[in-house]
Symmetry: C2
Subunit: 351 residues, 2 copies
């Protein structure tokens, strides 16, 4: 297959700027690797609320469902964050999209770049050589459990629920990845307090027998939050539930010093969504200073998913080439830097 | 009042070793400051399970309820952690004790010591000068909500519930502390997803009008996990719910490089419990290498609580004196170090 339908959701803040560099790069890929991408654009997030009142308009959902993969920018706007009374929020759109597309596994590779190690807030000897792959469950848990606020505003609750069916598919995915890597899988949970965490442990323990080469470890989430800072190299593949994954993967994303470089994939049975880890970064919107690399590396993950491994590799090499040659945005080099679009063009040209 | 009943719960792992240094120091305080401490010992944790089958025997609870304050060591044993089927767990004892004593506010001061800054995993310029006070709600939320695992083991749930009554007292405490400090209070939540978080925001927003000098900020927990590593100095007083507090306060405790020094207080209307932040650290048990300073500084927090501020100050100065003179355990100085009990005696002698 060499023809792909890509849903493009630029979203909020710097989303549109970085996504258009991904498109630029995909155009180059299409030429060189003799394939075709058909892009359909959809509104999403705060942008969509302002224009349609709905953070995920039906039209957008349809485009996504019809696509082979979704390229996503970023979501979120301070207007909504500071207003606890807001009934409609941009994030609802993203959560609903995850659920509707069944994107149960959020995957975040965390690598360090030799030439950027000094950007890390951690000391060199602690961070150097860190290489972690995080699997976060994305469509269950407290995000999607029953929620309630009593009409008088006296109390509220959120239910965290998991069934073994929610856990098994992503656990297999994580075990398989561990088999390909250092054969070490760490489950992060709070099994000393939560019933759902004990269900995760039991379920993973059972599955472990099918992967005899993989060593399965457990760590409590509070301890994991410490160990990521003290000694990140101890981790290889991490598996965790939705809420813990949100916190831990964001913590992990900054220890390398280059959050502007980190991609992510959200995978389901029938579709997948690719987005940079950095958020909408509203302060930088429209200034041409946003780093397009995370979006471009997310695009590389998409190419892998679409079974175009050569194109994906070429794209990753192009990014490394840009970084090694210090052809980067201001976040990575304050002295000499290039604009979002210059960096995107440099990478596209290399391809 | 100069006569105090102290419940002493040494607990598991290195708990007994560090608590006995606190007792040593309290004996010195009693002599110098002309007061009396009556110590009643209770079993607690894995230790108590092995001896009585119950992690919090009634006898222990009674001792605590009769006391003016509780001195606590540590809890936890790997035997239980690796067994998701265990029906009785050490942690249940601690959770029940918190609930029974109504210890709704867990307070963790996070300071850096100039002479120890190089122990931090973070770069000097990032960590230097960090001074944070964390208020974690301790007797509600997902820890104490309804829990359920279906008998077939197919699904499980945990309910996170908050009422405004759970939030108001600790919020006032945090606002008052902020008034005494840099007048900046940051609420950590996940208000873009959770109903309970929106209840926290609304409740704190209302209370804020009573503290016009304090600036109230909000930050999502995933972002907070990043910011603590990227720029911890931006925080002054932090307020958060139980589960987020567990994760965030542990993350915060390692960035200074001296978790062996960090104390905590858990405060209720009628009683209070003081414990070091480090856990039971089973690998070090009985070796005489555990750092007693966190337990001793927790004791200083207890003296403040008992309205003995001069004794508390003297104790804090004694600890600083020991650290400045490099009279420390192996975790702080690998080359020349002293035993748990030598450090305790040095501090007691200074008093
Ligand atoms: C925007 C928000 C709802 C979302 C989440 O919490 O899942 C984001 O933080 C993420 O990690 O993708
Ligand atoms: C032992 C455990 C139940 C406890 C908690 O999660 O509250 C501990 O991690 C703590 O922070 O005091």
């Amino acid at each position: 297959n060499s023809y792909f339908k890509i849903a493009v959701l630029p979203g909020d803040g710097i989303g549109p700027e970085v996504v258009s560099e991904s498109i630029k790069v995909l155009d180059a890929v299409a030429e060189v690797f003799n394939c075709q991408f058909q892009f359909s654009y959809g509104l999403m997030g705060a942008e969509a609320i302002f224009k349609t009142g709905d953070p995920l308009p039906e039209e957008t959902l349809k485009i996504c469902k019809d696509s082979d993969a979704v390229l996503f920018g970023a979501i979120g706007d301070p207007v909504f964050d500071n207003n606890p009374e807001a009934k409609v929020r941009p994030e609802q759109g993203l959560l609903r999209l995850r659920k509707e597309l069944g994107l149960y596994a959020n995957i975040r590779p965390l690598k360090t770049y030799a030439s950027l190690i000094d950007k890390s807030p951690l000391k060199r000897e602690i961070i150097e050589g860190t290489d972690i792959q995080i699997f976060r469950e994305l469509v269950s848990g407290i995000y999607f459990g029953e929620k309630f606020t009593d009409p008088d505003g006296k109390y509220a609750y959120d239910v965290c629920k998991y069934s073994t069916e929610d856990i098994i598919p992503i656990a297999h995915m994580a075990f398989k990845e561990a088999e390909k890597r250092k054969k070490k899988l760490t489950l992060i949970d709070k099994a000393n307090v939560l019933d759902t965490s004990r269900l995760w442990r039991k379920t993973c323990q059972k599955i472990a027998s099918q992967y005899p080469d993989v060593q399965l470890d457990y760590i409590f989430v509070d301890n994991a939050a410490m160990q990521l800072v003290l000694n990140p190299k101890q981790f290889d593949v991490i598996l965790t539930e939705n809420m813990f994954g949100d916190i831990i993967s964001d913590e992990a994303s900054v220890i390398g010093g280059s959050i502007g470089l980190l991609p992510s994939a959200s995978i389901g049975e029938e579709n997948a969504l690719f987005e940079p880890i950095h958020g909408s970064y509203p302060q930088a919107k429209g200034k041409g200073i946003a780093n397009p690399v995370a979006s471009i590396l997310s695009t590389a993950m998409m190419l892998d998913y679409l079974d175009l491994p050569e194109a994906a590799d070429k794209l990753k090499r192009a990014v490394e080439h840009a970084i090694e040659n210090r052809y980067v945005t201001v976040d990575l080099n304050a002295e000499q830097h290039y604009s979002t679009s210059e960096v995107g063009s440099f990478i596209a040209d290399y391809i």
